[in-house]
Symmetry: C2
Subunit: 250 residues, 2 copies
Amino acid sequence: MPRTMSAPRLTQQDCSNCPIRHSAVCARCEADELERLESVKYYRSYKAGQQIAWAGEPLDFVGSVVEGVATLTQTMEDGRRQMVGLLLPSDFLGRPNRAKATYDVVATTDLVLCCFRQKPFQELLLDTPHISQRLLEMTLDELDAAREWMILLGRKTAREKIASLLSIIARRDASLRENPAEQSVVFDLPLTREAMADYLGLTLETVSRQISALRRDKVIVLEGKRHVTVPDFDLLMSETGDDSDGGIFG
Amino acid sequence: MPRTMSAPRLTQQDCSNCPIRHSAVCARCEADELERLESVKYYRSYKAGQQIAWAGEPLDFVGSVVEGVATLTQTMEDGRRQMVGLLLPSDFLGRPNRAKATYDVVATTDLVLCCFRQKPFQELLLDTPHISQRLLEMTLDELDAAREWMILLGRKTAREKIASLLSIIARRDASLRENPAEQSVVFDLPLTREAMADYLGLTLETVSRQISALRRDKVIVLEGKRHVTVPDFDLLMSETGDDSDGGIFG
DNA sequence: CGCTACTTTGACGTGGCTCAACCCCAGTGG
DNA sequence: CCACTGGGGTTGAGCCACGTCAAAGTAGCG
């Protein structure tokens, strides 16, 4: 399978109907700016499990996740792996003005990207302040998220790590729903136990054991391996070790 | 002691003689842009150990570290602490357009900041592309550093963590020297054992033991508690768990 | 000279890792 | 239709790296 293979391009879509229109890097753009974006953007699709980029290898585009989930991971020489990014819809992939990927990028579900080649995007950045401002804001948000993640990795117990990951996925998932008022917190895990372990700095066995423990303690209900119901979100939050706050829509 | 106390302001300095002129957020500015910066910048000084900001409390300025070292830390309800940022000269402190500090900020050595009030800085960002471009670049660099840090926290052993921290400090220290060619790698630790533990996600006892072990194994030589000599930098690098590379000036 | 903050070192306990067996289920091909 | 296979997941037994608790050493400083 060729490395840069991707599914056939989608038909050119209207930005104004895009599901991530108001949260992606284009969020602040006006109608005329969107027209310019439409003229240079293109879509790429990947199947679940497909690798999008290899650390150290060329990557000549940047873009936004439109649908699906991708991960950034780093592998040490002896095989130890750590996830360092979890890209959900509207998140930005790649670094402007950098020709090579810094991390392995893998689609963990079927994935659609809205892409820009490096050079045109660089020009967009230079003469579309609404884009560069938004990109700065998103990068600062990602830095805050990375710092939260550092607290998780450095100081939380295995149980707290699992609870934190579940709450993060639930929160992000809820923010995408049509009707955010609906109270049942139900979602599918987009990650295998192994990927969760790579996220959390644990082994997959420990992940499995702690999920079983949370199920035993009725903090979560599982149907199959991936489908999760959270009967009491505050209870889950109280297991994360974070300051009690509980608001799912913070 | 009032919270926002700081030492008397320095005399207004000429940006062109500033030690961080070419690496801080102002690095790309032209002469006329520097003039504008000079008209709104001001200096703040702090003593070693002094706290600069409290998580959740107002912080109405942003700025660059000119001299000294500051840390960003987060504390969990039960007192567990994790450092999430180590600010060395030329690093940027604070987030544009955010009125409150997200983390505790502490000067771990005597410190000088070059500051801007939030409002004027926001205006600078909007109409000085050289500043906003540079800030984006620095934020992306910080995100990369945060991700390296995540690998350290999630997957490295205690010994590897210590070796990694020493190499990071040595590297940053070397990049500030007049004569970077000089080969002896010698520096002072700007952190207590406890602060190192907070950085690395360890206890201070484990930090102390691992430093003793590296000394026993002749990877480092200590004079006093803080003054470190690295007789063979490649040897230290080989203890970090990172890809062998060894170049101190990468 | 006696605080106090920082550091080192020892003894012991334990949370999460390692190694290993086994389960479940969706393909796939005979 | 069933046997086989492989990827994911669960669970147990034992171990060890690092945390916890405790004591004592060291250096700066009023």
